[in-house]
Amino acid sequence: MKLVTAVVKPHKWEDVREALETFGITGITVTEASGFGRQKGHTEVYRGAEYDVALVPKMRLEVVVDDEDAGDVVGVIAKAAQTGKIGDGKVWVSPVDTVVRVRTGEEGTAAL
């Protein structure tokens, strides 16, 4: 199994969710996150004083999938989250040893 993690623009995460549902993914975990990449932060002005805000708000999506689905899921997320502008985010894949469904105790792919 693989854990697919994506960091995307907040206004794109609904598009990603829809695309993943269409693909057949039944559940994802979403966290509000902050960070910066090449986009860096932005500047805010309060009473004339400029503040560099280093962190940009992002959504972090996590979904555990079968090994063979991982590549497709990455493609689906990358396509749905893309605006073509700087700050679109990242998607990465990491191995997962085991998964347990808390309600039933099922393990492995049966728990997905």
Binding site: E44, V45, Y46, R47, G48, Y51, D52
Partner: protein, 436 residues
């Protein structure tokens, strides 16, 4: 007569609301970790000054005396005061005495020990505000401006509702305290953004609403003077929003909500001394200039390196001084732009600003230093970094995460002082364990 009393009592209630409004205005401008302490400084002023006022404050401010500098001890405990007129005046003037020290708190965000602040309020209001209020607001016996009136008002200085006594006074003390306490840790380096601008706008709105009591109420009667002050107050506040936002648009490229809220307050500050002495067009001019001037003045702290956290100096000292001195030009009674001009008025207005500002600055500096050297005024570094709310009040302003919402619903360690658990399950010593 009862109409006048009704208006003064109503105005006193309006002015009372300004201090909680100020708490919201300031509270929204601090970081989230200091919002409660910031608001508590205003509420502390409400509590402390009200009690002092009843015990001796009114008496030493307005008690009959031959002095032009302070009152007397004739009305300790409000003894011997009877009748609607004087008692409604006692209530009205109390609210001014509350908000003036509360205004100062904006200069010391995030870093003043709460007990130090409370002692400061007691000493500053007793030694600085009560005398200055006598100078400006004590019209003497029968309001005749005789030898027993306060020296500023008796001298012919025009300060209708407290441009000097309230705003210059608080602004100068704020500068002194910012210097005594020093800069917040990380000042200029860390972003110290307002954490809740809707609170700031709500606070500004409540201040504005209350200001009708402050200014129009200072007529102490439901008459044409009150109505004039009311209209001029509205005109100046509105014009000052425009003045502030134009500066932001030109300088920064965007008008901000904080600028609108600040502009309104700057205009209200500037019109405070002037509201009964200028024409409506004069009020518009005064407002737009005050808004623009204060928008520029709030940058001074960066240049001179003092952490007047929420710009009490830039708005109240500068705005109050500007409104007071501008009367030398814009007053319908002696201003240089009108018939009957009198250059002496400009001089008197300037002297009054300098006198009150100097007295308050020096007094606040000495009081602040004395507190710092005895019980300590500045919070320790760890507490400041972690957050003053948590360390001075054992509270947090907001609980917005699911993790701390307390919906586990199962027994754990009960809070200290919680009622004895009835259910046997609660006897389990281990956190979160449930006896089957």
């Amino acid at each position: 007569m009862s109409g006048n009393t009704a208006w003064v009592l109503m105005s006193a209630a309006l002015v009372m609301l300004m201090t909680p409004g100020l708490a919201l205005f300031y509270g929204g401008m601090t970081r989230a970790k200091g919002v409660l302490n910031m608001m508590m400084m205003s509420f502390a002023a409400l509590a402390i000054v009200s009690v002092l006022w009843v015990i001796y404050g009114y008496s030493i401010t307005f008690g009959e005396s031959d002095s032009q500098l302070f009152g007397s001890f004739d009305h300790i405990g409000l003894h011997g005061l009877n009748g609607a007129a004087v008692l409604s005046f006692v209530a009205f003037q109390l609210m001014f005495a509350i908000i003036t020290p509360a205004l100062i708190s904006g200069a010391v965000a995030d870093r003043a020990k709460f007990i130090g602040w409370c002692v400061f309020v007691v000493l500053w209001v007793s030694l600085i505000y009560f005398p200055v209020a006598n100078w400006v607001f004590d019209f003497g016996a029968d309001g005749a401006l005789g030898d027993d009136a306060g020296w500023i008002v008796a001298w012919g200085v025009q300060d209708f509702a407290g441009g000097t006594a309230v705003h210059v006074n608080a602004g100068a003390a704020a500068l002194a305290l910012a210097l005594v306490l020093g800069k917040r840790l990380g000042w200029k380096r860390d972003p110290m953004r307002p954490h809740n601008l809707p609170l700031v706008l709500l606070g500004a709105a409540l201040l504005w609403f209350g200001w009708f009591g402050f200014n129009a109420g200072s007529a102490l009667a439901a008459n044409g003077l009150a109505a004039t002050a009311f209209i001029n107050t509205q005109a100046a506040a509105s014009a000052a929003i425009i003045g502030w936002l134009v500066v932001e648009q030109v300088r920064d490229g965007r008008p901000t909500s904080l600028g609108a809220a600040s502009g309104a307050v700057a205009g209200l500050v500037a019109i405070t001394p002037a509201c009964a002495f200028v024409s409506p067009l004069g009020a518009v001019l005064l407002g737009v200039l005050a808004g623009a001037l204060c928008a520029l003045a709030v940058g001074l702290k960066w240049r001179f390196g003092f952490d007047d956290s929420l710009d009490v100096v830039g708005v109240h000292l500068v705005g109050g001084a500007f409104g007071s001195i501008a009367l030398g030009f814009l007053s319908l009674e002696g201003g240089l732009l009108y018939e009957g001009r009198d250059i002496a008025l400009l001089g008197k207005q300037t002297v009054a600003v300098l006198a009150v500002g100097t007295f308050s600055f020096v007094g606040a500096f000495i009081i602040g230093k004395a507190i710092d050297m005895t019980i300590g005024f500045r919070l320790d570094e760890d507490s400041e970094v972690e957050g003053i709310d948590l360390n001075e009040h054992a509270e947090s302003g907001y609980d917005l995460t699911a993790a701390t919402r307390g919906h586990r619903g199962l027994p754990g360690t009960p809070p200290v002082g919680a009622p004895e658990p009835q259910d046997a399950r609660h006897d389990a010593g281990d956190k979160g364990s449930v006896n089957a």
